[in-house]
């Protein structure tokens, strides 16, 4: 899939500071099997598995020394992990939390516990729900039959529990269509009594299942040292994050399938420079901080 470029030097990115710590909390296990999933998650893909509360707790303790600012949980589907509620409760004692979910398996009982946990402390608990477009017609062909309806039910449940979910869409349409689609989605959400819709469009990553769906990356879609010259490195999440998995610490949540992305067992071992040799790096380069919240988005001062 990802191979090294045949010519030229590969630019390296340093870990400027560990601002965001990610947890691959349900590995590559998911109840859905979206066609564009960039790490090909499915009910059967256990190449990465669930993180235990114990593993998360250890990393949380280690993260203090690194001055981690925010914690992110992803998968697969985080809510398939049986310990997810205690894991999130524990993490909220350390800092702000964002969970990326497909919204289809949420339960009222979990959400009321999490709402209590959020209110006990002073940090935000953010939910990002992936829904690919404002209608079943745009979403279901990608995410599976009836997933639009099920995810919207999840959104309603979140709103009922006092959360303000951020809905993220992978762009499967032309960039120029963004405004129209956002407007349509705002309308749909308002009908569902979600009166403060927060929406975000993400670029597609052409790796994993998405590489089969579309064309994958060409050999020339690589970052060259020249491209890095005037570039603000903080736009790349590997400049300020790492991801904890059941198989060690990786450079970012995007490159789990790449052998060189595993950096070591501990945060300490993972605090090394990383060569931007992958096609997905090219998308990061083009679109900036694709995985963080709007409120955490970095922007350049120069």
């Amino acid at each position: 899939m990802s191979s090294l470029p045949t010519s030229g030097n590969v630019p390296h990115v340093e870990l400027r500071s560990l601002d965001e710590l990610w947890f691959q909390v349900s590995g590559t296990l998911c109840n859905l099997e979206c066609t564009h999933c960039f790490i090909s998650c499915s009910p059967h893909n256990d190449s990465f598995s669930y993180l235990s509360l114990e593993t998360v707790a250890k990393s949380l303790e280690e993260s203090i020394r690194w001055g981690v600012k925010e914690y992110y949980f992803t998968g697969g589907e985080p809510f398939l992990n049986r310990e997810i509620v205690p894991i999130l409760e524990r993490t909220l004692e350390y800092g702000p939390v964002t969970v990326l979910t497909n919204g289809t398996v949420l339960k009222a009982e979990w959400l009321s516990r999490l709402r209590d946990a959020e209110q006990r402390g002073s940090y935000s608990l953010e939910f990002r729900v992936s829904i690919d477009g404002p209608t079943p017609a745009t979403n279901d062909p990608i995410r599976g039959p009836r997933t639009f309806e099920r995810a919207m039910k999840g959104v309603r449940l979140l709103v009922e529990h006092g959360f303000l979910p951020i809905i993220t869409m992978a762009r499967t349409w032309d960039l120029s269509e963004d405004e129209r689609i956002l407007e349509e989605f705002r309308g749909v959400l308002k009908e569902q009594s979600c009166d403060r819709p927060r929406l975000k469009v993400l670029p597609r990553l052409q790796i994993g299942a998405e590489a089969d769906r579309s064309e994958g990356y060409g050999q020339h879609d690589r970052i060259t040292p020249e491209m890095m010259q005037e570039f603000d490195e903080s736009q790349l999440i590997c400049n300020h994050s790492r991801v904890v998995t059941d198989r060690g610490v990786y450079v970012c949540p995007i490159l789990l399938d790449a052998p060189d992305a595993r950096l070591g067992e501990t945060l300490e071992a993972a605090a090394v420079d990383f060569p931007l040799s992958h096609g997905a790096c090219y998308t990061c380069y083009q679109y900036g901080a694709i995985c963080t919240n709007l409120s955490a988005a970095k922007s350049s001062t120069t």
């Binding site: 600012k69 800092g95 702000p96 953010e126 403060r196 409120s295 001062t301």
Partner: protein, 276 residues
């Protein structure tokens, strides 16, 4: 020592005038401003004579850097198209109405300032000590992050603004992070007042009156950080904004105390506290 610290002014010269008078009435006449002199409000040039007359020591915010260096936008760090649309309206208005000598003055401001007061090391910055336009919100900033920030920058008390909402956190060994709030617009809490901060240290602390005499100590020096809600003639400001043709959305915020723009950048907790 007694210091009054102002956050973003956003052209709100009426609030600045009121803040200077209010601080003086409280016996404080050392003034600092953490930048973002322009944005949002009317008549940018009216802020500068007030700053100079009162001897307010200013550092440079992202706005001042943009206006001073003739950049195309305010570098506020918004990512939502609607937020950016409104930010651009204020930016172009402010740029057009700021005299060249005031632009040059902003261009030459320092981006941070260090003060040592009664043995306490203060670091004054705009967003964070490491990035002028970094948003540090109460609900999305862990305590150990702030600890490391203060340690890495050799500061006991870090003072910042930029987000528009005041808050503070006590860190290890009595260190502090303080967002001093802004004079430019209300805090999205349904009140029309704005906020600034008074810091008292050492012998300038008020005498204990029964309840908490001071907030804590830093390096064995007592320190008190007081957030001051400030009423000013916001009706007049709203009227002047209307006369200048500034967006209804901004005027609404001044009159109601609720934010109507820049909402997408708010974390959920801060967003829920508001109306929109």
């Amino acid at each position: 020592m007694k210091l009054a610290i102002f956050g973003g002014i956003y052209n709100n010269y009426l609030a600045l005038e009121a803040a200077i008078a209010d601080a003086r009435a409280r016996g404080v006449d050392d003034f600092y401003c953490l930048g973002d002199l322009g944005a949002f409000g009317p008549h940018p040039d009216r802020v500068f004579p007030l700053l100079k007359e009162a001897g307010v020591v200013c550092i440079q915010g992202n706005y001042d850097d943009s206006i001073g260096n003739d950049l195309d936008d305010c570098q506020c760090g918004y990512t939502d198209p609607r937020d950016n649309h409104f930010a651009q309206i204020s930016y172009e208005y402010t740029y057009r109405n700021t005299a060249p000598e005031n632009r040059r003055w902003m261009r030459d401001l320092l981006t941070e300032l260090r003060l040592e007061v009664d043995g306490i090391r203060f670091l004054l910055c705009h967003g964070s000590p490491r990035q002028t336009n970094e948003f540090l919100w109460d609900s999305t900033t862990s305590t150990h992050f702030l600890d490391k920030l203060a340690r890495d920058h050799n500061a006991d008390v870090v003072l910042a603004t930029h987000t528009g909402i005041h808050w503070q956190r006590e860190l290890s060994e009595g260190r502090r992070f303080v967002n001093v709030g802004v004079l430019g617009r209300p805090e999205n809490d349904g009140s029309t007042n704005v906020w600034y901060t008074i810091i008292r240290t050492g012998n300038d602390l008020p005498k204990p009156t029964g309840s908490a005499p001071w907030d804590s100590t830093v390096n064995n020096t007592p320190i008190q950080i007081e957030f001051i809600p400030l009423a000013y003639n916001h009706e007049r400001l709203a009227q002047e904004m209307q006369d200048e043709g500034l967006p209804e959305e901004f005027i609404n915020t001044i009159r109601t105390g609720w934010w109507t723009t820049c909402l997408e950048v708010l974390p959920s907790r801060e967003r829920r506290a508001g109306k929109w």
